[in-house]
Symmetry: C2
Subunit: 209 residues, 2 copies
Amino acid sequence: MSYIELNDKKIQILDVAEKLFSDKGFEGTSIRDISKHAKINIAMVSYYFGSKERLLEALILYKTSDLKLQLENLLQENLEPIEKVNKLIEIYINRISCNKGIFRVIHFEINSEKREKSMIAFTELKKGNLKSVESIIAQGQAKGVFRKDIIIPLLTPTIIGTFFHFHMNKPFFVELLNLNTEEMYNNYIKTSLTKHIQQTIKALLVYEN
Amino acid sequence: MSYIELNDKKIQILDVAEKLFSDKGFEGTSIRDISKHAKINIAMVSYYFGSKERLLEALILYKTSDLKLQLENLLQENLEPIEKVNKLIEIYINRISCNKGIFRVIHFEINSEKREKSMIAFTELKKGNLKSVESIIAQGQAKGVFRKDIIIPLLTPTIIGTFFHFHMNKPFFVELLNLNTEEMYNNYIKTSLTKHIQQTIKALLVYEN
DNA sequence: AACAAAATTAAACAACTGTTTAATTTAAAC
DNA sequence: GTTTAAATTAAACAGTTGTTTAATTTTGTT
């Protein structure tokens, strides 16, 4: 994973790019949009990042670099298996929640052949995350708390997918559940939705059918 | 919900548009792309649909109109509650699986302020679907099979979200699970992934914590 | 065959796209 | 204070964008 030097101006551009990419998509956002909102000259994006494509690459690296660390720390913690899984879910939701913007872009752009190169770093991240999840589940299985026949790669889709589908349909759920302010929306995620996901995963991990 | 007359040429355009929108996004696809692949003149899209925006509206209506009917039919069927939920999940996965393209576009485009009008029909569809799900769960609760404290609006995010996250990360899972052909991929969805989701929802609906 | 409506076309439109250039300003080093 | 490198700018570049126009062809009706 390549290292990129980030000065204040670069970070300013990245933050603006995240918001705009999230609102209007990668293709839907022009460099002129970005430069206008970041109050810089059009040429500065090319000057700093080389191209719009490489700006996206830098953005992905910038926004995902510390998730890996957080999961590895969780692995070392001394917790009951079910508590560890619950904390794993909280970390996922929190990280993605804080970086809703970029994850939305990734989510859509990931399958585009054009964007293949930008997504390699993200694939590596996912592989690492899966290893962490595997370890946590294995710990629970060793203690006899979790079932042995769990398809671990399908746990992440349920955790992240549930959260994401909720977030992607935000206008629908805001109306349905009367989450009139941004605070109420975020609060619903932090409490009810997180609890729902934790309950779901727990049921799946320990329930005997 | 407005009715749109569809002749062969229109359908041809819609099918091409779905594929291209899915591959490259709404903004990433040009009318020239569409007309080239559909082997028609550039002006025909405006001639038939009025604008690129209204083409998207027509596409959404065209691809989602029969899901509603399928769910309403399921409601009437005489099945055990758990069987009904399993069938509900199958319908969801099958419908979205057959229309992967357009649902991917919707999923991303849904939050864009630019696309607000195109998505109204889709919001109505979701409201109807939720009502069907509520009825099915209520039937199971009346028979004493399902728990009473289920947050029904969060079931759909788990069902669709899990499937969608899997599908959106297709390249990752293809590599991870060695799903080398399209047939193997689709087969994995039809068997393992569907089973995983059914198992998850069942555990959530009947598991006492 | 004659007419009218619908379908199809190539060309043009103005606006926008990402990127590059060359000139100018700012900052740092000596 | 002079020199060198970095940062910033406006302007131009060559393409592409969605849409409209006006002319032509095809189709269906009488």
